[in-house]
Structure formats: C-alpha cells, structure tokens
Amino acid sequence: MKKLQKTDYIKMYSFMLKIRRFEERAAQLYGMGKIGGFCHLYIGQEAVVVGILMTIDKNDSVVTTYRDHGHMIARGLDPKRIMAELTGREDGYSAGKGGSMHMFSKENNFYGGHGIVGAQVPIGTGIAFTHKYNGEKNICRTYIGDGAMNNGQVFEAFNLAALWKLPVLYIIENNKYGMGTSVDRAAAGLDLYKRGEAFGIPGEKVDGMNVFSVIEAADKAGKYVREGNGPYIIEVQTYRYRGHSMSDPAKYRTKEELDNYKQTDPIEIVKAEILKKKIATNDEIEKINKDTLEEIKNAAEFATNSPFPKDSELYTDVYL
C-alpha cells in the first residue's frame, strides 16, 4: 500500500472536513433560497473521493455523477467558485449555466458533474479511450452510483472497456439507496463489484467509511489499470447522512441505521488516527476546524455576492 506521510493525514482530514462544512453551508443557502433546483449532498461519503484522490496522478481524468460538490473540492478546486455555481452566479465554474449537477473544470481534467444517471459511464470510458489513443499513461476514474448499476449503458461501457482494454477505473459509490429505493429492492444480486465478471473485469468491495481501506484498494486498482491491463471495478460501501436531495426527508430508512453509520464517521476515523499517531494535537485540529469553517463561510459570502450572469449570457456557449 501507498506509504502515507504525516502531511497526507492532515491533507485527508482537511479535505474531508472541507467537504462536510461546504455541504452543510450549501444546505443552509438552499434553505435561504439562495440555491435552487436540485442539490445532492455528499455528507457521509467524504472518505470515498478523498481516499481515491490520494492515489492519483494530476493528469488523470475524472467524471462523476450529479453528487459532485465533494469531488470538486477534493480535487482542489476553489470552494468559492463551486458555491457560486450553486447560487447560479457568473463566478461559478459553469458561469451559472450548469448548477449543482453540471459542473466542469477542463483545466483540472474534471469532466462533470452529469445529471443523467449512468450517462457518465460511457463518457468516462471514452475519456479513457482518448488517454490510450494518445499514448498517455493516464487513467480515467469513472464514478457510478449504485442506482446506475442497473442501467444498460453501464454494461455496454464495461463491454467496450474490456474489449478495447481501456484505462478506466470504475468506482461504484454504493450509498445503499438510489433516491428512495434501497439496493436490495433494485438490484438482483447485491455484489455490484461482481457485475464486471462476465466481461473479465476484476472487482473488489471496500469499506468506504474508512479512508485507509479506500486508499489501499484504489492504489492497487489504479496500478492495475495504469499498467495497461484494462478496466477495474471498486465497489465502495458508503452512506449518505442526508436524503437523496434537499427535499428528501429519507423516511425510507430508520434513524438507527443512520446513527449506526455515524458511529463510523469517516472524518472521526481520520481524526482519531491523527491523534493516536500524534501527528497533530487537539489544538492543531481545532485550528483546522476553525480555518475550514472560515474558508467555507467566505465561500458562501462570495457566492451570494457574485453577480447573476448577464442577460446576454443566455445566448452564449451554445456553439463554439
């Protein structure tokens, strides 16, 4: 497994915390009517993207679902501009034209943010195709929700990726529910990571509440893909504390179930490890907490003060 430095622990803790504080603030702005439409929060799933990102090359590409805020933060994108996209302002990553579900940063090889369940899977496979076509050593990480694992195009993409040995790492974020339908009510066969078996794609299941398990699996899978062996599937078992979107009270699951997952909170796990290993003191952690809260507060401030797009922007960016 990848050897973690002391700074890695701090980095992981900071990013996971930043995602959580960002999402909480987004929920607040949504409540104030500053954010509209659909808004899907990543709270509870922070260890997934942060763990995966500890193992990658910066020229790798990534594509994900509409639950994308955390993915952008973990990639080091500016929370101010992410929040400004959520508020639909001109400083947003998509200049206010995409919103929560459709955010992109080409310069950071971040290809969205896709609103259609499953559609990002062939797209990510095509980005991986491009890496191979261009003779690059990079891979495309393609995130898939558990809900999309019953969607036909996902299997078409698996087939193509295996057939053409494309450098794509599929990461199933299994947060147990596709909107309000639990995985066992949607999927015949609960081992989603085995769904590539028919195509010869290896898969494995990982505890997604524990960032260290995620790193270990991602490191191994990333190497496999980067060495030209074709695609690989990681199924990360995770949990979203919030409903599917802002207007979902999540009545389809019990409070006990939620509380149970909160016992294995991904951020607390890293924090405990930092204290145990004496990488930082409680005071130092507190400082990170305060700084993070401040940074996100500033992001919200920025996002609510950034101007709305100009009327003339309605007609731009339709064609290049």
């Binding site: 500053k34 594509v63 896709h114 496979t125 491009t130 207007s247 960016d317 290049l320």
Partner: protein, 459 residues
C-alpha cells in the same frame, strides 16, 4: 458575533414551515452538523442541522408553532457575553425579488447577426476545379473522410461494420487498410455505449466520426447525443466542446418498413447545440462533410441510402468545403419557391421540369443543405421574389423543418405572400412495408406538382 438561524426552505416549493420540535435548548452549545430542530414542510418532516457554531442564546418560536415563513429567524446562536440584537426584518421579500429576475428577450431561434456566415455556398456551375469523372455520393463521403484523417491524427471513425466489413453500405471502404485498427474501429451493436464513449473522446479532444448503420438506431443513443453532446458546452460555461460527427443514412431506403425507415431531420434540428446537415449530391456531400469534420461542435450528418449511388462531379481539392448554414439556390425561378433538402431535391427538380412544360411555371428550388442553423435569409429573399412557397421533405408533417420555415415566412414575409405556404411531407403514419403503400407514403413528383398548382391557384 451572534448568528440567526433562519427557517430553511427544504424543498424548491416550500414557502413556510411548522416548528415540530426543538432538539436544542437555550444555553446549549451547538457545533456545525448538530441537529437543532424538526421542521414540517409542505412535503415531509425534516431535521435541520446547525451550520454555525456557538451557544444557543434564544429560541424565537415555540414547538408546535405553524406557518413560519421561510427565512424568518427561529433561533439565535453566538457568544453568550455579547448583546443580542434581533433583526426585525426578515429578508424574505428580498429573496423573492431576486428570484423574480425576468429576462425580456424575444425568443429567437434564428442565428444572431454575429453568427451569420458571409461566405455563400459555392455553385457547381461556376466551379473551375470540377473533376472530369463523376463519382458516387458514397465515394465522395469516403474520400472526404480519408482526406481529413490524413490531415489530422485526432480524426477517427467508429461504428458497426465500419472496419473489416468495409461498411454496411461501403461508405468506409478501405479506410481500415489505410489507417489501421486504432483509427477505424468496429464496435459491438451497442449504440448507447459507443455513442457515449465517442462523446467522451470528443470532450477529451479527439474528433470522432461516428457512423450509425442507420439513423434509426441513433434512438438507442439519443440521450448521449442531446443531453451530453449538445448541452455540455453550455452547461460548462463554454469550457468543454464536443467536436464529433454523427453520420449515416437517414430516412426511407426501400421496403425496410416502419422501424428502419424514419426521417430524423426535424428531431435533431430542434436541438440547440447541434448542427444538422443533409447533403443531396456528391458535390455538396464532399464540401459539407469536410466542414462537419472540421467543426468544433457536434454535427448530425444525415445521408440517404438511396442517394449513395447517385453520381456527379466533385471538387477534388482536399481543402474544398461548403459552409455550414448556407442553402444553395439549385435553380433560379420567378413563379414560386420550392424549399427542399436531401433526397427530395431530386424529386423537386423533376417536378420543376414538368411544372415548366405542363403549366409554364418557373419554380425556384432552394436546397437547404444545412437544416440547423437554417439559412432563413436565402429563403426569405426567394419568397420576396416569387411570393409563393412550398416545402418538400420526407419527414412526417407534424413539427417538421417545413413547419418551421412556414412559421418564419409568415412572420417575416407575410406581406409578400400571395398564397398560403403548403408543405409536402410523408404520410402521417408509420412506414408500411408493401411496395404500393410505401410509394403512397412518400412524397411523389405529383404531390409536389399539386402543391405548386395550389399555391399558384391553378385548378
């Protein structure tokens, strides 16, 4: 500093809520993420979390209080040593006002001025670089793809049977031999998957040419074409374009019946973000396909199986192109205008000959070449001259390209019209199999002549 906790909007439609339960009390210390209250909305009862940190200084509503407007302060947290100041005015109105921003721009679907292409479509009659030999449309398409693949390594082709089989309709003949299997890829019968893959490749900078064996199968992939290829430039605020050509035969072939004989011209022409081209001759197929491959946007290139064998001269300059968005005045005339595209150009030309011979009507024929962006200027100028218009196309009648042209002409050239616009379309039914019914379904020369007589008030 103290912070107000406001009644949150917990759904896009919520305007007020009921405070079902407090989960905190005065004097409690709350941290970001702590649950503070249960709020009943128009849809459900939801828990609310704290975002800021501090000591609960005051709860402004009691449990059970109802109809509390969104954005009204319900609690105050902060430093207990600080004086509390409750702002009387809740910022509700302000927010509603912000949401009411109205954009008073007239809905326009034509090109804006800046987009109008000034280069006219080249005229075959005036082309000094015309090949002496006549080639088929199939070969014109093939040659253009090969020429562009030689110029740019990023251009590649994928589709069903495009490589080893040499193309289901032989449009990709010998491309595998010249460019190899890395750039000429046979796909499985998996339109949804390989279309999404090609769109992803285009986002990442390649220039795919995707062949649909026929456009009927593009319906399997239409989500990727519209939701991904056409919209991402806009949704990304101009960051990610999609330089891809979707090409293949469109419309009826011969007796392949309902599922294999459909015209998609108006379907795709409706979508902002796509360009749509429908060539009618080897000459314009060559010039237009080159423009399509070089274009940085997604282009739908609608060929026609019956036209693949049509022979004609071409301009063999490897840089010859016809601009997207320019119609060609195929034949000038003064008595009426026939606007058409793709295979219906041939039938319109036949009809024009007979109209001259039998009724002494001199028809002007406009071959659209590009359906989106539509060359409205050429259409309007012609109507202003002839005062009569018929549209001829193979698509179903409801909401067709002709319907949009009729709309534009009645709006912008109403005073010039001497008769209502008449559309000639296929029958409004699924394509039948039987030869006799198929003929009845498709627009025929007689249908065009009858429409021309009608707009000319000839019995």
């Amino acid at each position: 500093m103290s912070t107000e906790i406001l009644m949150p909007a917990l759904s896009p439609t919520m305007t007020e809520g009921n405070l079902s339960k407090w989960l905190i009390k005065k004097g409690d210390t709350v941290k970001a993420g702590d649950l503070i209250a249960e709020i009943e909305t128009d849809k459900a009862t939801m828990e609310v979390e704290a975002v800021d940190e501090g000591v609960v200084l005051d709860l402004l509503f009691k449990e059970g209080e109802a109809n509390i407007p969104v954005n009204k302060a319900i609690a105050i947290i902060g430093d207990p040593n600080e004086k509390v100041e409750v702002k009387k005015e809740a910022p509700v109105e302000k927010i509603i006002e912000e949401k009411k921003i109205e954009i008073n721009i007239e809905t326009k679907i034509e090109n804006k001025k800046d987009d109008i292409i000034d280069t006219p479509s080249p005229k075959i009659e005036e082309d000094t670089n015309l090949s002496s030999a006549e080639i088929t449309m199939r070969q014109a398409l093939r040659d253009t793809m090969a020429e562009e693949m030689r110029k740019d390594n990023k251009v590649f082709i994928l589709g069903e049977e495009v490589a080893e089989y040499q193309g289901a309709y032989k449009v990709t003949q010998d491309l595998l031999q010249e460019f190899g299997k890395e750039r000429v890829l046979d796909t499985p019968i998996s339109e949804h998957g390989f279309t999404g893959l090609a769109v992803g490749a285009a986002f990442k900078g390649l220039r795919p040419i995707l062949e649909f064996m026929t456009f009927n199968f593009s319906m399997q992939a239409i989500d990727q074409i519209i939701n991904s290829a056409a919209k991402t430039l806009y949704m990304s605020g101009g960051q990610i374009n999609c330089p891809i050509v979707f090409r293949g035969p469109n419309g009826a072939a011969a007796q392949v019946a309902a599922q294999h004989s459909q015209d998609f011209s108006s379907w795709y022409s409706q979508v902002p973000g796509l360009k749509v081209i429908a060539p009618s001759t080897p000459y314009n197929a060559k010039g237009l396909l080159r423009s399509a491959i070089s274009d940085p946007n997604p282009v739908i290139f609608l060929e026609n199986e019956i036209l693949y064998g049509l022979k004609g001269p071409v301009n063999s300059d490897v840089n010859f192109s016809i601009p997207i968005g320019k119609a060609n005045i195929e034949k000038e005339g003064k008595d009426l205008t026939i606007v058409t595209y793709s295979i219906m150009l041939q039938k319109s030309k036949e009809a024009a000959l007979r109209l001259k011979e039998e009724y002494n009507l001199d028809a002007e024929i406009i071959d659209l070449q590009t359906l989106r962006p539509l060359d409205t200027e050429t259409i309007l100028n012609s109507v202003k001259k002839t005062n009569r218009l018929i549209t001829v196309e193979e698509s179903w009648p409801f909401g067709s390209v002709g319907s949009e042209i009729a709309n534009i002409v009645q709006r912008d050239a109403f005073d010039y019209l001497d008769s209502p616009v008449i559309k000639v379309n296929s029958a409004d039914v699924p394509m039948p199999y039987s030869l006799s019914l198929e003929k009845l379904y498709l627009p025929q020369v007689d249908d065009i002549i009858n429409a021309a007589k009608k707009v000319s008030y000839i019995k």
